[in-house]
Symmetry: C2
DNA sequence: CTTGACCCCGTACTAATGTACAGGGTGTAA
DNA sequence: TTACACCCTGTACATTAGTACGGGGTCAAG
């Protein structure tokens, strides 16, 4: 690629694997900075491609666009703002670690389900997605079925 | 809990930790079966609580409501439908395993970011979320920056 | 200097997943 | 029997993250 050449929004979008409307949408939301225009057109740098890909990756791991924005804005921070962003990073790390545990349990549950229900010779009665998940989940996060409330103990 | 007592939608919702509107929404979508009404009211079983919790769990691990529905409907399947559901389960397992890899890489990247940017004494120039993610991601899924296209090689 | 691909802005629409009324009915405790 | 919490249906609104469209401007190859 010739670095002298100008990258229009269409090419940015193509390179970053998003739609042009998405790029403009990100600029409106303040997630991407709108580049200074030449003759009414936006022209981009390679770093913008990287930035959009980063946004997509952050989305993939569970960030909302607002969170992405917070993090990207925070990059240029200093002093006190740093401890805020460090805290947010650590919160996200905990969140993701919890999700990893949950997903591992899910794989086990689904495997059990696939083995019992999906097996060619199995009988229909064995197809209990609920049972597979109930057992597998207990290690991860349990909500007890005891103390269910019903209607005759009405709130007054 | 007295099993003789009747569980109205409000209590079902409370026990399953969702809103009553959500329950009705699930019934409209066919994710939950609407129970036969007595005097115009819906009355539920404990199994309905379990079912809603299962829906929430499946959502947590990345199922859309339509996918949840597919799986729940498929539980009562037999014969040929079984191999379909087994295949879907296996697809989901692969999907989740890929996600786990991605999340592990994300934790590493965020840790690096928190360490470099968030540390009390660090300088602002070290705050590069993009760099932290770029390196960490390569193991997981890479999109090369070479072969970028720009505007002067215009399509005709 | 025309033409066709591409860009601009602004607005409106979509899909998924709920939430929130409005207007009326029900059931039970006092 | 009345009050009040709770239920019903139906419709509309909210949020997130885009996507599409209309009406017009720009640029570069032929």
């Amino acid at each position: 690629m010739n670095k002298q050449q100008k990258m229009t929004i269409g090419y940015l979008a193509k390179n970053a694997n998003v739609g042009v409307e998405t790029v403009r949408f990100y600029e409106r939301k303040g997630i991407l900075q709108q580049p200074p225009k030449q003759g009414g057109f936006r022209y981009y740098q390679e770093s913008d491609v990287k930035r959009i890909r980063l946004v997509k990756r952050l989305q993939d791991i569970g960030f909302t666009l607002d969170e992405v924005k917070e993090f990207l804005v925070a990059e240029t921070c200093c002093g006190e703002a740093k401890s805020v962003i460090r805290q947010k990073s650590n919160e996200k790390i905990s969140e993701i670690n919890a999700k990893i545990l949950e997903l591992n349990a899910a794989v086990n549950a689904l495997q059990k389900f696939a083995d019992s229900c999906g097996a060619e010779g199995s009988v229909a009665i064995g197809c209990q997605l609920l049972d597979c998940f109930e057992n597998e989940w207990e290690c991860c996060k349990t909500t007890s079925m005891s103390n269910l409330e019903t209607t005759h103990e009405r709130k007054m």
